[in-house]
Amino acid sequence: MNNEIIYILIASFIGLLSFVLAALAIQSKKLSVAVIATGVVSLFSSILFLLMAAPDVAMTEASIGSGLTTLIYFYVLNKIKKYHA
């Protein structure tokens, strides 16, 4: 019973943090900050998947969602900056 409360607390804390970071990703003026925020949202959601006993989904989310997607966004961002500056 006690474990369950701790579990809910951790899960809701992570959920709240990812909400904050998602809002940051939408609101921030700098695109690089937004890209990093989306990456961190993915990382937090992979922790949530792990807490919900889905380690395979967590692995995919951590490597593709927060790793590769962020890198590809930065490649694209770099390419866009060349044309606008």
Binding site: S63, L71, N78
Partner: protein, 233 residues
């Protein structure tokens, strides 16, 4: 004004829909239908300790083939739209230089991460994870290596061959399933072996290893294309 009104109307309707779903949701206390069949008979029929793998590779193997095909299409479309030419080969990426910490740690970590990816897809039928996860982990090792050395040369030919051969072997094992066992992608083309050991669950370890190689090669291919698109002089 009208736009904001419409947006808030849409959001409110979403709230209504999801609230109704939330209120009307009653969790099932026991499995029924096909889920019960998978849970009760999956281990005996397929011989995989990880039931998710039994569903993904054998019961729903055709869907997995579709997913792999979609990933292949994605890689090809990215290659098509990035418009890389032969002249790009000789150019380099101008960057501010990478830190000593990143270079040293990536030299240490890249082989370990690749080894972990191979472990994940070879043990797909025993432990959580499988072909897609293992392939994604291998590709993230490639991403780390690119971060440490932005001008790294990735051998395109190796990626091409690994990807094509894995895809062909995956489909061939599936066709063997029609000839020797119950149907397309049936895993009983090979003996089931001892439950819970590495060489068990029929063809699942082989199929998943090739899926892992294919996914890893495809995502590395996408990364390689993006890396090449950054070259300028």
């Amino acid at each position: 004004m009208l736009r904001n009104l419409l947006i808030s109307l849409l959001l409110l309707s979403f709230v209504y829909i999801f609230y109704n779903l939330y209120v009307g949701f009653t969790p099932k206390t026991e499995l029924d239908g096909i889920a019960a069949h998978y849970a009760d008979k999956g281990a005996a029929e397929i011989g995989a300790a990880n039931l998710v793998t039994a569903v993904v590779v054998t019961y729903r193997g055709f869907d997995t083939l579709g997913e792999v095909t979609i990933l292949f299409l994605t890689a090809s479309i990215i290659g098509f739209f990035l418009k890389l030419t032969e002249a790009d080969e000789n150019k380099v990426i101008i960057h501010r230089g990478t830190s000593e910490l990143l270079v040293t740690s990536s030299n240490l970590l890249v082989p370990i991460i690749i080894l972990f990816g191979i472990y994940v897809f070879m043990n797909g039928h025993l432990t959580p994870g499988g072909g897609f996860q293992g392939g994604a982990i291998i590709a993230s090792a490639v991403a780390l290596a690119i971060l440490a050395n932005p001008n790294m040369h990735i051998n395109h030919q190796i990626i091409l061959w690994v990807e094509s051969i894995s895809g062909v072997v995956f489909v061939l094992i599936g066709v063997l399933g029609i000839l020797l066992a119950g149907g397309f992608l049936d895993n009983r083309v090979l003996p089931q072996g001892q439950f819970g050991t590495l060489l068990s669950a029929g063809a699942i370890p082989i199929i998943y290893s090739f899926i892992g190689l294919k996914v890893g090669a495809e995502i590395s291919n996408i990364l390689e294309k993006y890396q090449k698109s950054q070259k300028e002089s």
